[in-house]
């Protein structure tokens, strides 16, 4: 008997297939988590982080690695204007994490910020409630450098839990009034948002518990 086969069209791949994420999702995510955990446990001290993959620009490998390690369907992600302008970024994040990408910063659990100079006020993101201060956003800020940070760099003096004595960190580009913004965030404690600076090859944590001033 002869089968009459209908000719089915060859499925065509979408214009841009999302590139690969972690080479090993289990150990890649674990290593990145440990870097982020160490960074938040020791504010201001850079923790080495190697992503091992290349996300679509302007998303940097380090910022992407943090999101791929920590985000899933439970964590809406907010993208700032430069990232939202490139559809491949949202497609890449959705493909690898399954996380919804939201446009309202108040609905986000994670925020990815490629241009910290133009970032919204920290209080635009969820800061938790007095009963549940953990129901708050984590902001991942892409910076181009830590020690040698160029003209738009800010220098911060840090004290508080996780800091032995005092720590000093320079990073940029960051808003010139970042210390003031972080101080306002600290005044909300235990509410507030937590910041992760994603620099080439390292992350720096600035949790809400840290006392920040310029210097």
């Amino acid at each position: 008997m002869h089968m009459v086969c209908a000719i089915t069209p060859v499925p065509t791949l979408p214009a841009a297939v999302p590139g690969p994420g972690f080479a090993d999702p289990v150990f890649g995510a674990q290593a990145v988590f440990r870097a982020v955990m160490n960074a938040l446990a020791r504010p201001g001290r850079p923790a080495a982080l190697v992503a091992g993959f290349t996300p679509p620009v302007p998303l940097t490998p380090e910022a992407a690695a943090v999101v791929l390690a920590l985000c899933d369907h439970e964590t809406p992600i907010w993208l700032d204007a430069p990232l939202a302008a490139v559809p491949e970024v949202a497609a890449f994040l959705r493909f690898h994490t399954g996380a919804p990408v939201v446009t309202d910063p108040a609905a986000a659990r994670f925020a990815l910020i490629a241009d910290p100079m133009g970032m919204p006020d920290l209080a635009a993101f969820p800061t938790g409630t007095p009963d549940y201060p953990d129901a708050s956003a984590t902001l991942v800020l892409q910076v181009s450098g830590l020690a040698d940070a160029g003209t738009d760099a800010v220098s911060l003096h840090l004290e508080g839990p996780g800091v032995k004595g005092a720590e000093r960190i320079a990073a940029g580009p960051l808003p010139a009034d970042l210390a003031r913004r972080l101080a306002a965030n600290r005044r909300l404690f235990p509410r507030g948002v937590d910041l992760i600076l994603a620099a080439p090859g390292a992350v720096v944590g600035l949790p809400r518990s840290t006392l920040v001033r310029e210097g």
């Binding site: 289990v26 150990f27 995510a29 955990m37 938040l40 708050s136 032995k164 809400r208 518990s209």
Partner: protein
Amino acid sequence: MNAMVTGSEAEMPEIGYNFAYLDEQTKRMIRRAILKAIAIPGYQVPFAAREMPMPYGWGTGGVQVTAAVLGPDDVLKVIDQGADDTTNAVAIRGFFEKTARVATTTRTGEASVIQTRHRIPEQKLSEDQILVYQVPIPEPLRFLEPRETETRELHALAEYGLMHVKLYEDIARHGHIATTYAYPVEVAGRYVMDPSPIPKFDNPKMDDCPALQLFGAGREKRIYAIPPYTRVVSLDFEDHPFEVQHFAKPCAMCGARGVYLDEVILDDRGGRMFVCSDTDHCETRQAEGHHGEMWGGMLAEDAR
């Protein structure tokens, strides 16, 4: 060491288990809770604790935190009341040897992750170490106020008068603060926290500790943390300052002073001895040639 689980079948972990038993979504959920716990020192972060292949009360919270933190290059130590060789410690160490194939040790100095039930090791911890506590009841106010909605409110308002009343009642009744374990602490000047049922002897070790301290309560579904170099103060009164236990005699096996000792009953005629609760500390000292009053006697008895 077991860097990758690919390769020959001999190197594969137990069939059907992800690395360190938990699935990746569970690990992400726990990891996010750990990060918030670190950002808000002493605050109890709710998390969706899973059923583990061991009963509640046997360290399911600590096991889940350890599983979320652990990597292939970690060296794990597990202690139960200071001992590496008790049932709980042996079972949990075996669990991670089987499901994560990580290296394990009994030496405090060699471990990168130490899971503990009810003790902090005597040896000072380093910056490269993580101490994971098993916590039965994370809420320090629970026996004073049974309603979760109320205790949550009390934490939100930093209203800890109840706890001071409890400690005051100790003084009124006994003449001193009679709380000897799970002694409440204030973390980073904000949250009052249950340090888990460690003896109050260990409380000072939590203050300004170079290591990261993570707490997991499985049945109660809470994770909390003390970042390194954080101020941890045991609650007290000006006229009744916090004090740790003192022991009349040194360890009977290694002669150590200023360590926490366990009482061991030797016979049915009132014979007893006090030995280090931290078995690694005691064995290390004995190997270094330190001996207590019973050391020779034990050897002579072994010889018989």
